[in-house]
Symmetry: C2
Subunit: 443 residues, 2 copies
């Protein structure tokens, strides 16, 4: 028998931590659905050719092999998905005739990456994705909605405040064109490294690409622009760059920022450094961080793309989507103990069992409570009450109910926190709303 031990990169939670995770996943789901996004789940596997089509991530894939496949040890040709975008692209193509476009979907599933384990990196984790995919033109409305949903969704999670940075690829590309830069992709990738290698590092790489010092300086100045409103546009123009693509980008980002003006101050920031270098975005791009936890990196990100499918002219599916790194955030705060549930079980009331003869009446009390939405356990044996109360205390169950030991006597209920015991009617008693379900406690 192998040693019983955790496997690095495959997090697991205790019941009281799982309560927090469930509450977070429920909250995301409720909010996504309140905006009309439909849930889908895709199979966990995709053909390897699909997973490898983008090329960049081949090292991260877990391939499946049937242990005793008849054809020897050969692979199944299937790999576990490492994101929810490739599965979405395939799903949309496969069910295209049965879906209504614009197709607004959310997807909360585990993804797997066969990475070398390292701190803060998981090999199995929850991701929550939102995308709108259309057939024809994608209204800017959706770029606004994505940002709004991200701010509201992460804002409702029991984690520190989110600041969502927004940029538009067209601004960067328009400015670079204006500066005579030809290799857009290489430049975007370099600028995207600003946080990692600093301004000097970026400057060196840009100049290394053959860029003049002044142009490199303008790229850096562009990346330093921040604004909580639409004032960024003037700052960009002040750099002396111009052009149609740039104008379009500035208009789009202005629309997005102005449409989000009702959100809490500082929750969205036009951040002209955001490039999302490795991705296929073509317009609005998003990157969110938690205030005071910037070291955790990007906790949500996404953007607008011209074509989800990449299948050529005939089957273009533009869209805009974002991804929330649920496990990355929860891992940080659950693992550290700053985040926990008020009790370790869903149970609100333990019905004590005074005697074997009282089983049926204890059961009836419990059934009446359950029918009113009160999670209830009946103690499993007619042990002394001290033992039964201890069972409840150990789990943080707030109430113990005592059915009468004899027919016709009164029922009593004890609040274990206050230590108070009172008579009560099982047909009408309800706990305070705050006690119905475990609550989330943050330090």
């Amino acid at each position: 028998m192998a040693k019983i031990s955790p496997i690095s990169g495959f997090p697991e939670w205790l019941p009281e931590q799982r309560i927090v995770e469930q509450a977070v996943l429920d909250g995301l789901r409720t909010r996504f659905e309140s905006y009309g996004f439909s849930s889908i789940e895709t199979r966990s596997v995709e053909p390897l050719e699909h997973l490898l089509a983008k090329g960049e991530t081949d090292k991260e894939i877990y391939v499946l092999r049937r242990l005793q496949a008849d054809d020897g040890a050969s692979d199944s040709g299937l790999g576990l998905h490492f994101d929810l975008t490739i599965p979405l692209a395939r799903y949309v193509q496969q069910f295209r005739g049965q879906l209504a476009f614009p197709f607004k979907r959310y997807q909360i599933q585990k993804v797997w990456r066969g990475e070398r384990p390292q701190v803060g990196r998981y090999r199995e984790f929850y991701q929550a994705d939102l995308d709108v995919v259309v057939h024809e033109n994608l209204a800017l409305h959706f770029d606004v909605e994505m940002a709004r949903l991200l701010v509201e969704s992460v804002g409702a999670m029991p984690v520190p405040e989110l600041v969502l940075g927004i940029n538009n690829r067209k601004i960067l590309q328009g400015a670079y064109e204006s500066l005579g830069i030809e290799d857009m992709t290489a430049t975007l990738r370099i600028v995207d490294k600003l946080d990692k290698i600093g301004a000097d590092g970026v400057r060196k790489l840009l100049v290394g690409q053959g860029l003049a010092d002044a142009a490199a300086e303008t790229c850096l100045a562009l990346g330093r622009i921040r604004a909580t409103d639409a004032s960024f546009a003037d700052d960009v123009r002040a750099l002396g760059v111009s052009g149609d693509l740039l104008d379009t980008g500035l208009q789009e980002l202005t629309f997005v920022m102005e449409s989000l003006a009702d959100l809490p101050a500082g929750s969205v920031v036009a951040n002209l450094s955001i490039a999302r270098g490795l991705d296929y975005y073509t317009g609005t791009v998003y990157e969110g961080q938690l205030v005071g936890h910037e070291k955790l990196g990007t906790v949500c990100s996404g953007g607008r793309y011209d074509d989800l499918v990449g299948g050529g002219e005939k089957l273009k599916l533009p869209g805009v989507g974002v991804s929330i790194g649920v496990s990355r955030m929860l891992g940080q705060f659950l693992g550290g103990g700053e985040l926990r549930a008020s009790r370790s079980v869903p149970t609100c009331v333990l019905v004590a069992l005074p005697s074997d003869a009282a089983r049926a009446s204890a059961r009836d009390v419990a059934n009446a409570f359950r029918a009113r939405g009160i999670a209830t356990e009946v103690f499993h044996e007619a042990a002394r009450f001290g033992k039964q109360i201890k069972y409840a205390q150990k789990r943080g169950i707030p109430f113990v109910w005592f059915p009468p030991a004899e027919e016709g006597a009164v029922h009593e209920v004890k609040d274990l926190r206050a230590g108070e015991q009172t008579t009560a009617d099982p047909a009408t008693w309800c706990p305070p709303d705050a006690d119905l379900r475990p609550s989330i406690v943050t330090d």
Copy 2:
């Protein structure tokens, strides 16, 4: 690019089918929690040695390999779990010091089996497991609770009526001992085949094991006993078998059946043919089928075990558990179209956009609705109303809201089913409760 196609054994649902699946999973979760069961999720992988420890299922395992592992093409030593019992056993051992016993947990997760695809067999599917694991003695109370939860949980699913068969291994073993049978396991396995090979087949195999004709006949007669109350005990004794183990089994099953007497008539049946031949059960065993869909086979099953862990005397963890084949049932009825949602999106109201200038007021209406728990979309562009209404109709959204085109004019709401349009106040309007969420429709 590989062909876009379904992969046999990996089911996927359309958004309107997923709504049904979510409602079913939510219903199970709510019911499990109403009995105080805690949710856990275990990692999707376990070390191969653990998965292979039981020996019977090695053909069904998917092994993971990192596509570009540094050490060549070697396996990770990890396999996807094929049930939720092996992971539970490992989890309980690993976190033993941090769990409260009796440990009541439920687990709703996907499991994977690398089987050859065949009708009704999935390679990726949802299973919902309930177990109570204890340190010392396991009260019979829990055997009753498992049966009750199964009947209530499956009974609340939008599937045909469940009949839960219950037996006790001690009755079978006690009777076999009384008949002088020595190889219990072989006999249990043969009797378990009754449904598949019929009475003649079983008789032949039993006699083939060296059993006298009369003893084989008694085994068959035992397996024919059915009762919806505790009357089975007299029928068993009438076969002339006796002994301590038999007596204990009869007492236990009598207690279970009598404790369930309040359930709807016929929902639980003492069925003395149930053996669960391949499993490690030692007392109560369960097997449920859907009335009229017996061909679908067992849709839920389980039983009591003396030791979850199998780690020897020092670490015995007895328990009782059941497993519900969620995907097996849903696949049957969702796939066939008998089961569907009343609409394909969560959206209850589409707020129409009369003009670009009205965006902020449309957004405010939507936010007010969302705050009252009404799932709301704002149409993404100021198209003509005909197009906006068509968007709602196509998705089955019941209401379209029309904010005023000019400041100060009235809001109106249209019920697309009745075709009625009335003025309404966005600060107070609520849809009928039945329209708030998509409902489940069964044929």
